[in-house]
């Protein structure tokens, strides 16, 4: 059991961009579904209806292109918002099982995360093994029963998540990540005040940042190539 408490007085903004790269068919449903995913932890937002022209342009259902942007206590430019005062409200607390009332606090906590134009489509796995085959990977607890027929995934259906690999040298725009944790220390519940709202430990063993040397609060940038095949068993 692990409890997380995220305390902040400023906005978090979560943005999706869904595009068709090949006969997109279900934008509205996808949006609704995605909203449902995140509404578990966040308040429900309003979706935009598709106009007639957009609906008419829908042709098929081969795949989708997805952009995900998440900001936590920062503006679009990465500047922290409202992260001041005592205690600084920009913080994340973790409470582990059997450690009730003791919070591992990530203080002065803010950042952003963005996946740009990742592509998804249905696919099938190859029909020829790779040379690294290990059928025991698909065995059940009894180490005898195969969880997929013949413990053989060849030709099975899979979700293909991919980026095209034809980007030029020096292009790093598939994933951006900015994070700041100014201090790390434990805080303890004190009467009615939960530990995650206290700042009794003013020290810290270290801080953590993920950024880029281009400038203050510039996000860490990465480039991803290849195909990820995800399948169940």
């Amino acid at each position: 059991m692990l409890n997380l408490k995220n305390v902040s007085v400023v906005a978090r903004v979560l943005t999706f961009v869904l595009r068709s790269f090949s006969r997109l068919s279900v934008v509205l449903i996808l949006c609704a579904s995605s909203g449902g995913v995140f509404s578990a932890g966040m308040s429900t937002g309003k979706m935009q209806p598709l106009d007639d022209a957009s609906m008419a342009a829908i042709e098929g259902r081969s795949g989708i292109q997805l952009t995900l942007r998440l900001r936590n206590n920062v503006s679009v430019s990465g500047t922290p918002i409202g992260c001041s005062g005592t205690p600084n409200p920009c913080r994340l607390g973790l409470e582990f099982a059997d450690r009730s009332g003791i919070w591992l606090m990530l203080k002065d906590y803010y950042g952003s995360f963005s996946i740009n134009d990742i592509r998804l489509e249905g696919s099938t796995l190859p029909v020829v093994n790779t040379g690294y085959q290990d059928s025991t990977r698909f065995l059940a607890n009894d180490l005898t029963t195969c969880l997929i027929p013949g413990c053989d995934p060849r030709g099975r259906q899979a979700l293909n998540i991919f980026y095209p690999g034809n980007k030029g040298a020096g292009v790093y725009n598939d994933l951006t990540f900015f994070a700041n944790v100014g201090r790390v220390a434990l805080e303890f519940d004190n009467g009615s005040i939960p530990g995650y709202q206290r700042d009794a430990a003013t020290g810290s063993v270290l801080g953590f940042r993920a950024a880029d040397s281009a400038g203050l609060n510039s996000p860490n940038r990465a480039r991803i190539e290849g195909n990820a095949y995800v399948f169940g068993y």
Partner: protein, 490 residues
Amino acid sequence: MFLLTRTPYRILLRFQMLAQGIFSFALMVLLTPMALAGMSSMTETELSGVSGTGLAIALDDFRYLTAPTSYFEQVGQNNLGSDCSGTGSSSSNTNCWRRGDLRWYGVSISGVTGSGSHWNESSCDAGSLACPRGGQISWFSPFDNPYLIRAWSPAGMSFDGSDINSDPNNPNKTIYEFLAPTEQPDYKFSFWGEIESGATRNAETDALTFGQGDRLKSQTIIQGNAAGSIFRLFQFTESGNETFGIFYHSRLQGDFRFSVGQNGSGATDVIGAAPVFDNQEGLHFMNVDAYLPFGQLYYQALTVGAVGTGGDFYLELTQLPETANVYNRFYSLDSGDSRGFETARLEVANWDTPCASNDTSCQNYRLSHGYVRYGDWYPGGGGARNAIDGDSDGMFFRKCSGCANFNAFAKRPIRIDKRGETQTMQQTQNYNCASGGGGCSVVGGGGPTTTGQGDSTRAYNTATANLGDARIEGLLIQFIRMESCQSGGC
């Protein structure tokens, strides 16, 4: 584009496990659109063949490159002690604890073939340890031997010595696990780094260029794979300490290079600017094979807890319990061996022979005992002894391209005087070289001996100094504890 939320709020999420939550988040994002995208429907046969146990992730033509100027940083705390203005043996230096910052730039996973590149994007040979980044990795995670994420109930032993999940059809404890392929191709894992001492900037409000300290840039390249590694999360089983437990069995094999020398034309000491490193300089570990087990199902785990009440915390690999069932499994001595010497001797001698399918003692021994092997030589087996200047196996230091050779001095004691190495009974074997270096014929040959600590003038003038191969076997990790230390609090 649409907005989900832009209002102040506070959330409470209860996750059974942190990583489960993270993966749930990621997988819901990725899989929900998939499910609703109306792709090809599954047949009844296919549906009946899915157990719901977990997810398999195969990665083909894969490459992950962080921008060479992008970094992950550990930000140190402010100086302690004196004003830290001094140098050498002055009190304002020796009484000072300087702030240290560490930054890892350009963290990359790439192939050992294809188009290689230095940190400034200039090209290099992807198959060489001179080249930090390679091309794409074909079947980095093979589809027929993929990364696995699953909830699972493997058998194990509780902290009190009782069996857990002994009946696979009626398990009583479930864990979350993330498994690497058992076999995968070699790839490159690389980054360059800055170690900075004495910085004065506020990392949250100042750019890197402000308040700079003294810096050392370095490069790390690992060329190999981590096949067989296992990461697990479970509830620890010690009574009264049933907390969040982490298990990590690390397996690494391949070559490792750490270097600090930069290439003349690509060199830069500007903070945050990516240099090009020399092609060959540095400390090398070749043909490494390492297995380090941190945790055992279910009697040992990495856990977190409080140190006092001042805010410090510990990360601990829990201590092996004084319970016969547990330590007998942990030590896994052969029948009739009460002290462990014979078991260890046989395990080392038969290190390359698989355990028999019914030999649980051998299997348990190899699960709990780690090893670190440098180089391809092993007792009684294959592999050749390395030449004194060998640069393809074992551990060696190598000079930078275009640099002059250096004098290697080996201080190999063949008799030790317990009063100290300068005493008369100490005897040291020297290189078989002339004084001042040169004129050596040292491969496989011993040099003259000297009373005392050795003759440092009998040095070997070389471009590479090979330290040889080494093996650490039977590595038991019974307890590790690391405590955080706030600035001025310890």
